[in-house]
Structure formats: C-alpha cells, structure tokens
Amino acid sequence: MFTLISKKYCFVKKLLKLPITFSRLHAEGFSMENSIDKIPFVGKHQFTQLPVYRILNSSKMDHVTIDKLQFHEDLLVDIYKTMLSLSVMDTILYECQRQGRISFYMTNIGEEAVQIGSAAALLPDDLVYAQYRESGVLLWRGLDYTFFVNQCFGNKSDKSKGRQMPVHYGCKSLNFVTISSPLGTQLPQAVGAAYGLKNHHKDQCVTCYFGEGAASEGDAHAALNFAAVLECPILLICRNNGYAISTPASQQYKGHGIAVRGPAYGIRTIRVDGNDALAMYQVTKEARQYVVREKKPVLIEAITYRIGHHSTSDDSTAYRKFGDIADYSRNCPIVRLKKFLCDSMIWDDKKEQEWLIKSRNHIINAICFAEIEEKPLLKDLFSDVYYTWPRNLTTMIRISQSEIEVNILLFVQVLEL
C-alpha cells in the first residue's frame, strides 16, 4: 500500500518538474519568479485612481494661453459655435416636447464638450456608432437643424421615414450609424466594423460612444474584449456623466470608474475632463493617431455631468439635489470654453448674441416647416423590413389599405383627436 502511494507521489513530482507545465504561465508573464508564498488578495486600493487629463482648469486659467496650446483660432471658434448651436437646439426642442409638438426629446446639456471636442478630432470618413446623447457629433459634421427637426417630427423628410422615436438619428453620408434604443448593442457592432476596416487596409477608424450605465451591459464586456483580442482600430469613448437615469454611478460600479477596466482587457486607456473641450480634442486626436497607426483600440473615459434631465420623460429633481445641477451649470463646458475664448480675445458677447439669434431663427424656421410637412406614406410602414417584399407583407399592405379605405373617416377623426 505504501509503495503504491510513494510511486504515485513520485509520478506527480515528475509531472510537476516537466517544463511544459509552466510554459503557458511563463508565456503570459505568470512566471515562477513572480510567485509569493503569502496569500495576497488584491483590492480596489491597489489600483490608484487614474488622473484626469485637463487643459482648461477653471482655477488655473491664467497659465493657459492660446499660443501655448498651439490651437488654431478658427477651430476653437468653430467648436464653440457648434456647442452653442447644440444648446440652442436642445432648449427649443425640449420646449417643443413640453408643448406636445413632439413626443420625446433628450438634451445634451453639460456634455457638449465630450461630443464636439472629440468629433472635431476625427476625420469625416471615421465611422461613428453612438448611444443617443451625441447629437453634437452630427452637428459638427455639418448637419443642418432641419435634419434633426424632421427626425423628431417624423415627417416625410425624415431619413428613417418616421419609424423611430425622436433623437434616434442616423446619416449614411456622414458615416453616422443610425441610433437604436437598446443600450450597449452598438459596442460590439462598432468593433466588428473596425475589424472590417482594418482588413481593407484603410486608414479609417471607428468611434463608439456609450454612457457609464451602458458600460454595465454584457455587450460592453464583449466589445472591450473583442476589440483587444482581435486588435481593432476603434476609439471607445465613455461619457461618464454620473447618472444612468436615476441610478448614480456609485450604484453602477464599485471600481474606479470605467477607465480602470481598460488595462484589464489589455486596452490603452485615458481619463479626460469631459467638460473641457480642448482636453477632449487633444486626447481624441492623439488616440486616433495611435488607433490608426497601431490598429488597436483605445478607451477614453470622459468625466462629465448630466445637467439636463435624462429625457423629457424624467424629472431628475426626484433623485438629485437642485443645488448640484446649479453648481455644474455655472461651470459647464460652454461657460469654460467661452471664458477662455474671451480671455484670448477671439470671442465676445456681441458675437455670442449674434450667433444665438441666428441659431434661434434657423431652428424656429426649421420647426415651422417640419410641422406642416406631410407625414411618411402608409406604404413605408411596410417597406425596408426586408430588402425585397416577401409575400406576407405584400398581402398585409393590400389588406391594410382596404381596411383604411373603408374606415377612412374614422381614421381621420382619431388622428385629429
């Protein structure tokens, strides 16, 4: 009996000595030299909080001058104007919803810099996958107010033919993939698109925006892991604005934000002040260069604050203090950039007033037209489900038309009510 055990033991010892047992551990850096004989659980404290990259610091503004930063003046003014336009659009479309002219709206207040600062650093060919709070990217790429307004009103000029809720924008010619409501789904899709671009040896990249709440979805894990393992040229930009509807970030995760997850997946990562348009621009620009050159992903966590309500279906004072909102409003991205531009003598209140009045007039005109524009055709309820028309849909469109013809007066009454 004893000999049997000792023989077995010798065999096990032999096995342990085989170099092959440790080759994988060595290859992945888990070497024997690294091992210790205590039980060292690793905790949150061992990952120091990542610093926040910032250019426009409200308390140290004096140290920053436009010459030092080597920013082109026109670029800065364009970024600022677009941020202002976005806030004008938000204010007016929000009111449109309150008046019942559109069914739904989501503002971007407080997050203008994340969107426009990053969009300005991308090239027009770069593909964008967004969540829903990234209208500024489309504004930056040159879309007119009429585009946004038509989508929100769902008239026949809307590209999605009135099928989606307001704010679900998309534009093929501007390489902006149509938004969908399910959170996080765009993340692995963006990674797939990035892989496709890499395979075609194109110097394009993909940018994918998502909130810190969406980062809790399984799709976010899938995307970060796929992007790293399959080496995809993608910029993953997380808008960490502190809230997912009513859920504060403290109930969303227990680690140090989203950024600390990046290195765990093997992704180059940075945290940036999302209320600083200049920092956002610089970081995105450098990240883009790396992504295109190395064909690998980068994760950017932009720290910001959602000043507006989650949506028009939400009253955020039910779960946060009004004082917090007011504090952030005083130091919002627009205020910060404006101060810098005014200090640098390339912007002033007169220019601001002119731009605001021009923007307001534009959007009010767009709304007037959108409201009287015809709605999409009934046929468009059935088209685009498939590339062609399957038999069941041709039958249904015939039936629906005859049903509507019979009850046309009733339908008109119902719709007018």
């Binding site: 998309g170 692995p188 990674v191 496709g196 590339y387």
Partner: protein
C-alpha cells in the same frame, strides 16, 4: 448487504424501463438515430458531383464563398482548427487568420461583431457553436440585426450577415445540445430563418443565405452532419429561399416539416403507403421565415388534410403558425382538423429522448387518425 439494499429501487426502475422500452429503441440508447436518411434527387444541370455528407457540403460552400467574395470572413468559437463539427476544416490555412478566426467565448459579442462587419459591407459568416447557445445573442439578432434596415429607412443594413448554428436532436444532447429554436426567431420581422434537410440543400441554401441582402439565421440539424450523405454538385449553386420544396407528391394528406423531420415524414409516408395504401404529399418548408404559405395551402387544397411536424415543443411552435394559416386559407377544403406532431412541452430530455421526439410511429398514428376522421 447495505449496498445491495440501497440499489434495489434502482434495479426495479431499470427493469420497469426495460419492459416499457421497445428492444430496438434501447439497443442504441446512447446514440439512437430516429430516422432513415432519404437522399436528395440529383439536381438538373448539376454538372460534376461528389459524394459528401452535410458537414462536407457546408465546408465546400464556405470555401467557395470565401473564394468568390474577397470580403467574406468566417468567425466564431473554435473555428480556426476546423470547428467542433469540422465544418471549417482547411479554411484558415487557405484564406488566412484575418479571414477565418476564433473569437472570445461570447455569443452576444459574436453576433454584434458580425452586424458591424455587415454594416460596412463585409460578408460576415458567424458561427454559434450550438443553437442552444444563441440566446445570449437574442437581443443582437432580434432588436438589432432584424431592425437595422427598417429603423434607418434603408440607409444602413446588415444584410451581409449570416449566422450558422447547429440545431436539433442528436440522440444524447440533453437540454442544451438538442434545441430547435426556430420559432423564437420566426416571430421577428426582418430576419430570415432557414433549415436544410441534407447536403445538397445545405450547400445551395447556405450560399443563398450568404448572398441574400437580409440577415439570415441558418440552422443546421447537427445529426445530419455525418449521417446524411449524397452526391453534391461541385459547382457554385443556390437554392431559392422563398419557396418550399415538395419532396414527394401525393393526394391523401399533406405532411409538412423541415430539417431532419422531413426524413421522418418520408418514412411515415412509406409506412402509410404500405400499410394504408394512401399517398402522402411531403413538403420541406426549408425557409421558416418568410415561409411559403402558397405552396403549403395549394397542396392542402388538393389533399384536404394536413399534418405539420417538428422537433420543437408544441405550444407556440412554428407548427401553430402553419396550422392557423392552413385553417384560414383552406377552410372549405379541409376534411379533418390540421394535426400537429411535435416534441412535448418540456425541456429536451437526455435519457428520455426516444420518447420525446415526434418519430415515425407517432407521425403514422397521427396520419391514420386524420385519414379516418
């Protein structure tokens, strides 16, 4: 002594089970095959053919696809070494790792990744290792892939995506290696769901799915991978996705099925012919969504009787849709209620599989009942 006592109830149960189980069913209980394969008749203008099983035919189709379409990529779990069912053998070596590659083990990632590839015009062939594991990707398939074209007004689409997944009973697959989830997806406008019944069909239908500008889910009955063998044309050919296939003509009753079940129905038709002297018309639906209700209803108007049969559970199975449509379209022609022979409304069991499946005996009984109605 203690040992034998505790074993007694078990022995008793086994004896009981032996008595209940017909001998021929018990013989191969670990790898039982519930059907005989009926080879496809050789296609017209088939050109040169080669004997292939369904696994080879799918492999052949994918080789031809990647050869013809330079953008095409194939990916999923364990693809590179040839796949756990050997469907992607030789592909990585031939086309390179950038076109045939393993992904991390994450189904929602695989389908999402495929949608993104298809968004930019890349032909994406994704593999889900078993249809049972497609559910983590349900959101990506149902909310995203299916609605991509519609929600963007036709600006964006992912029509170049094809998701392949082995499905159906395999003799011993238990709960999570046997499912037939086609009905879940048949409730989703925008998707195409296709199931072949053998090698010739698999190659032609898969190539159609890949070329079709709509996202397709291609369920491959895994028991056919090796058991089904027939001469398959070597050329690149496609089979239509919008028509059912009348596999055998008859006038007494219409039997409707898909995948492996078509062979069960063919065998049932033989039994009916030999024992009852009646001729069954057997239809392979092939495409579950959109499905060819015209061919089915035309046949039922001729025969006046219909039975639809599938491995998936009865309640809300796709048979319900077929039966309801027949009832609506052929009401004045029906001589008997439309029958359904399906799996039971239970999870798919392991040891009890022979009693779960809608085999030829159960189908035969249903036909007899319908004919005598």
């Amino acid at each position: 002594m203690i040992l034998s006592k505790s074993c007694r109830p078990l022995q008793h149960a086994t004896k009981l089970l032996r008595r209940c189980l017909p001998a021929d069913r018990l013989k191969n209980s670990s790898r039982s095959i519930q059907f005989n394969y009926y080879p496809n008749p050789v296609l017209e203008d088939a050109g040169e053919t080669k004997e292939m099983n369904m696994c080879n035919a799918i492999n052949n189709a994918m080789h031809q696809c990647l050869e013809k379409d330079e953008t095409a990529v194939l990916f999923g779990e364990d693809i590179e070494f040839g796949g756990v069912f050997r469907c992607s053998v030789g592909m990585k070596d031939r086309f390179g790792q950038h076109r045939v590659f393993n992904t991390p083990l994450c189904e929602q990632g695989i389908v999402g990744f495929g949608i993104g590839l298809a968004n930019i015009g890349v032909t994406a062939i994704a593999e889900i290792q078993f249809a049972d594991y497609i559910f983590p990707a349900f959101d990506q398939l149902v909310n995203e892939a299916a609605k991509c074209r519609y929600r963007s007004g036709g600006e964006w689409d992912c029509g170049k995506l094809t998701v392949r997944a082995p499905c159906g009973a395999v003799g011993h697959g238990g709960l999570y290696h046997s499912q037939s989830p086609e009905a879940y997806f048949a409730h989703t406008p925008g998707l195409r769901v296709v199931i072949p019944r053998g090698p010739v069909q698999a190659k032609g239908l898969l190539l159609s799915c890949i070329e079709e500008p709509d996202p397709c889910i291609f369920f491959e009955p895994k028991i056919l991978y090796r058991t089904a063998s027939e001469p398959v044309p070597l050329q690149y050919y496609k089979l239509p996705l919008d028509t059912a296939d009348i596999v055998r003509e008859g006038d007494a009753i219409t039997l409707i099925g898909w995948g492996t079940q078509v062979h069960v129905l063919l065998e049932t038709a033989d039994m009916v012919r030999d024992e009852l002297g009646a001729l069954c018309e057997v239809i392979d639906l092939r495409s579950i969504l959109p499905w060819d209700s015209d061919s089915v209803c035309q046949s039922v108007k001729k025969t006046g009787r219909a039975i639809v049969s599938h491995e998936a559970p009865l309640t809300n199975g796709f048979g319900a849709e077929v039966a309801a449509t027949i009832q609506e379209e052929c009401f004045l022609h029906l001589e008997a209620p439309v029958g359904r022979v399906t799996g039971w409304d239970t999870p798919f069991p392991h040891i009890q599989e022979p009693f779960y499946l809608p085999d030829k005996l159960r189908c035969f009984e249903a036909v007899k009942k319908t004919l005598n109605y």
